[in-house]
Structure formats: C-alpha cells, structure tokens
Symmetry: C2
Subunit: 323 residues, 2 copies
C-alpha cells in the first residue's frame, strides 16, 4: 500500500488505461471517476476496478476508442449511444447537456445505451446538484435478482441515485442498489467457506439458502422483498427497456473480459427546481430535521467525511491495482 | 352489503359528496377515483374513504369548491395549486396537460401542491400509459416513518407508482408505499389486543416493538430498512420539498376532520418513449420473461382480474359507506 494525492492517482490510473487501448480523453474520464469513488470511500467502484477495465479494453469488450454520440430528440429528451465504450464519458456528456436542456425545458432526461458499468452514480447526480438541479439516475446491471416469487435473474441490482442542491452546503446524495446486500459479500463468504445469513440470497429454485455456493447459482434477495423486486422491475424497464439496452439477463459481466460488450443502459434526469415550486430553500427544513434527529444521518455524510480526508491526506492505494 | 354496477356506485358516491359541500365536477372526479380503486380490489383507497372525505368537506378541511390552478413554467414543467381541494381533480388536470406537454418536450413533470390524499396512484399513472407514455408518480403522506436510525416521523409512507404501456395489453403498473406494512395492520392488531410481529414498527425511542400501542406512538419500519428510508427521503424531498408542500411532519391526517388542510404534494412525470429509445416494443421481452417465470407475476395482474370481475358483476358495497 502507498499513499497518493488524488491528482497523482488520476495520472497513474490514466496511464494504465492509455497503455491498454484507451483514448486519452476516455482514460481521463474513467480515471477521474474511479479516484473520486475511492476518495469517497466507495472502494467497490474505485481503483480496484482498474485492472478489470484494462483487461476489457485490451480484448475489445469495452471499446476504449469509442466516442459517445448524442442525439437530441426533443427539448427535454435525448439519447446517447455510448457505442460500447466506457459509461463515464457518456455520463460526462449527459451531465453537460442536461445543464443546458433544463434551463429551457424545466426537466430533461437522457437515455444512455450500449453502455456498461457506471460506478458510483451518486457522483454523477451530485454534479447536477452542484449546478443547482435535482438529479436522478437509474441503471441496470447484469443479472442478479429474480422477480418476486420467480427463480430467474431478470433484474440487475439496479441502483437508484438522486441528489438535491443545498444553499452553502454540499448536495444531499442518495445512492443505493436494490439488492439487500451486495453479491460481493456472498463471494467473500464462499472464499472463507462460511455460511451466509438467511435473507441474503435464494437458490436456483427460488428458496432461501444459507449456502454461499447455492446462492451464487441462484439470485440475490431484493431489499424490501416484493417491494424491492417491483422497484427493480421499474429500474430495469426504464434504464434498459426504454433506452433500448441489454436487459440484465442478456448483459455480460462488468467484471471479466469474457463475452460481448455488456450493453446495459442508464437513464439520467434533471429538474430545474424553479420550474416546480418555491426552490431548494423549501427542502432545507427536511434535511435540517434529519440532522437534528439523534442517531439519524443524512445520506452522504460519511462519503463527505472520507472525501475531506482524501483531499487533505491523499488515498491509500494498493500498488497491484496499477500493475 | 349490496351489489352495485360501477356506474351506480359512482352516482351514489357523487351524491354523498355533493350533499357535503362539494362542487359537482369535483364530486365526479373523486367518486370515479374511489370506485375505480374499489373495482381494482384496492379497498383501502376505495369507497370506505367516502365518509371521511365528506366529513372533511363539511368542516372545510378539504375545500370541495376549490378549482385547481395550472401554471406552466417551462416546456416540460408546470405547477398545479390544488388550493386545498381534493387531489383527484388536480391529478386529472395534470394528466391532461402531461399528454400535451410530452408531445413536444419528450419528458414533462407537474408539481401538485396544497393537495391531499391521492388514493391509488397506480390508477393515475395507468392513464398516462394508456396514452402511450411512461408515467411516474410520487407523493408524500402524513408522518409515518423515521429516517434510518432516527426516532421522529419525518417521512410519510411515500408511495411510488410507475406505468409502462404495452402493445395490445393493459399497461404494467407498479404502485407501492415504502413502509414494510400499512399502519392499518397495526391498528387492527391493537383493536384485537394482539401483539404485532417484530419488524413492522419502532417505538417512540426508535426501538423495535411488538406492542401495537407502542408502535402507534412510534414509527413504521421502512421496507428494505435503511434503503427504504433513503427512498422515503427521496420521495419526501421530491413530492413535498420541490413542490413547496407540507412535509409529512407538518401534514394533518388524511383520515379525520381535525386540523388544517393536509397540504401534501405530488410529483407526476411522463416520458414519451420515442424520445428515449426504440419504443415500448423493446420493453416487452422483459414483461414476457416475468410472466413465464413460474410463480412470478407482473405487478397489477391481480388488480386487472378484480377489475374484470367488477365490470361484469359489479362491486359489493357496504351501505354504511354512503350513509
């Protein structure tokens, strides 16, 4: 392990990608996103992804030289074809365009298709809130969860993120996936040869299991059971169905260099608060009341503390990540 | 109990409201919504609400003579002031305007403020999908749930609804509230002097309880625990914060004739599929795969079966509802 400044970490990650069939602009976008996630303490979407990304560009599963193509379809609507490149440059483009489009249209949404792993979505919607907009983002991911009562993994873990601007304070950012726990916890239990708690996963017949191997052959439990499964359907239909992207059950893994491009989708939305009410000052008492309620905490507080530390002291990195 | 055709049930409900300080157009809108919910088997949002609504118009908590006021703020944005009248006429107006606005703007949203109980939201978004749009609706409700780790009920049960058009089939409609169970189940347990299962509710100190009385003095558990609480915050901030409406903790009950108007808010959104991808035919394989997966079921299947029966055979009504 060594300690790197955020700027140095971006430069190092960029170099790894550029050496692995990736255009400099794309490498910069991806490296920035990974380092920001790492700085926020979101290691799962941080620099540990770098080696897997580089392997995917080297074999062409991700096209490191793709350029995202933007097509505006309506004052509030547009489509970005990520062309099987990285999701991050497509998201950067979407954010830039949403800032423009909402000025006129009040609300705007952009569908991103032929995309892939989009990392910490909270970081994307936060940029919309930094510009004074309410941001919403939905994404589908490779197969992880079944419809309620079903056995086949037709939904990903399908994250939802949302951000709200505040006056003189960092935005409030909500970012969650719809599985009860991340699949990584099941993998870790299997490696340790330990059982998993009932409620994490179902086996291939849709029955609760505490066996990690059976769980990996089955599906993850949705957070909130039937309600979480219904929300996962909503996200799958919006992020993949509406955008014309690969459904979870069709999408290749985000993690390995096997198979065709993942081809998943994202839907980003932004609302100009002025078009819908008295403005962000009216939301503030809600946030203040949460902060004032004992052990409750605003979502994102922990990420901001981690970010602060990373900015001043740098981040610990594993040298193997850049190998 | 007696059996009524849907048309007769609407006429009877309308008459009760008109006799209780409500304008004929508002009475028609409310009666239609209640009967539709009843027909769909959603009794909690059905005709059992009629007496409570009539009591609220008689005392002026709901202004039965209010006219919803529409202000367009942008091609995709508008605000409807329900003027402390019923939510239903405001929602009717929002749906009509969204159909227009999305034709040009691709996506449109309408904030409804100074509103109140909006019943079965699935019925509202379904009308958007009947017109070929993807519909999304969020609402806040009076205080029910605490932020995760907190004690104070700062969020309502905050329902989310979403609808997707299908070619030659009724839309797929998702409609769920974010509490694990409805507060009505706790009330029923208290009346029967029975304990409630752990996991339904927290006491006033934020601790799990199986005592129904302690639960009613505390908060309902969110579906999906911390994730459900985060989603409830998202809905509260969008449906009440953005729209400039009363937050859950400020809103008077939807059920009784005490206090000032509830003043909660709703946010309706509609997306024109053509602006975001290849169209609804691309979503269909997802719906087909769910229907094909053993015991899984598309959300809304049960409602459609109930509706079919109600249309052919009528609905069972309790004469006391119309007293």
């Amino acid at each position: 392990m060594s300690l790197l400044s955020l700027a140095d970490a971006v430069t190092k990650a960029e170099a790894v990608l550029i050496a692995s069939k990736t255009a400099p602009e794309a490498a910069r976008s991806v490296a920035t996103a990974l380092v920001k996630a790492q700085a926020d303490g979101l290691g799962g979407h941080g620099l540990m992804r770098l080696a897997s990304y580089a392997a995917q560009t080297r074999c062409g599963k991700i096209d490191g030289f793709a350029t995202a193509r933007f097509t505006q379809t309506a004052p509030g609507g547009a489509i970005i074809d990520a062309c099987n490149g990285f999701a991050y440059p497509a998201i950067d483009l979407a954010i830039t365009r949403l800032l423009d489009m909402t000025t006129h249209a009040g609300i705007a949404a952009i569908a991103i298709t032929r995309s892939g792993h989009c990392g910490a979505m909270g970081l994307a919607v936060e940029r919309l809130a930094d510009a004074g907009l309410v941001g919403i983002m939905l994404a589908n991911t490779p197969a992880a969860m079944a419809p309620w009562g079903g056995r086949r993994a037709l939904f990903g873990t399908n994250p939802i993120a949302c951000s709200f601007p505040r006056s003189g304070k960092p935005p409030v950012v909500i970012d969650l996936s719809l599985s009860r726990v991340a699949r990584g916890h099941v993998l870790a239990a299997k490696q340790r040869n330990e059982p998993i708690p009932l409620g994490w996963a179902l086996d291939k017949d849709g029955q609760p299991t505490n066996d990690a191997t059976a769980a990996l052959a089955g599906t993850m439990q949705p957070a909130g059971d039937a309600k979480g499964a219904a929300l996962a359907l909503m996200v799958e239909a919006l992020a993949a169905g509406l955008t014309g992207s690969h459904f979870a059950a069709e999408a290749s893994s985000f993690l390995d260099a096997e198979g065709p491009p993942s081809g998943t989708g994202q839907l980003l939305m932004a609302l100009n608060p002025a078009a819908f009410g008295p403005g962000i000052a009216h939301i503030e008492p809600l946030f203040a009341a949460i902060s004032a309620d004992g052990n409750a905490r605003l979502p994102g507080d922990r990420r901001l503390a981690s970010r602060q530390l990373a900015r001043s002291a740098g981040i610990e990195v594993n040298d193997a990540w850049f190998a």
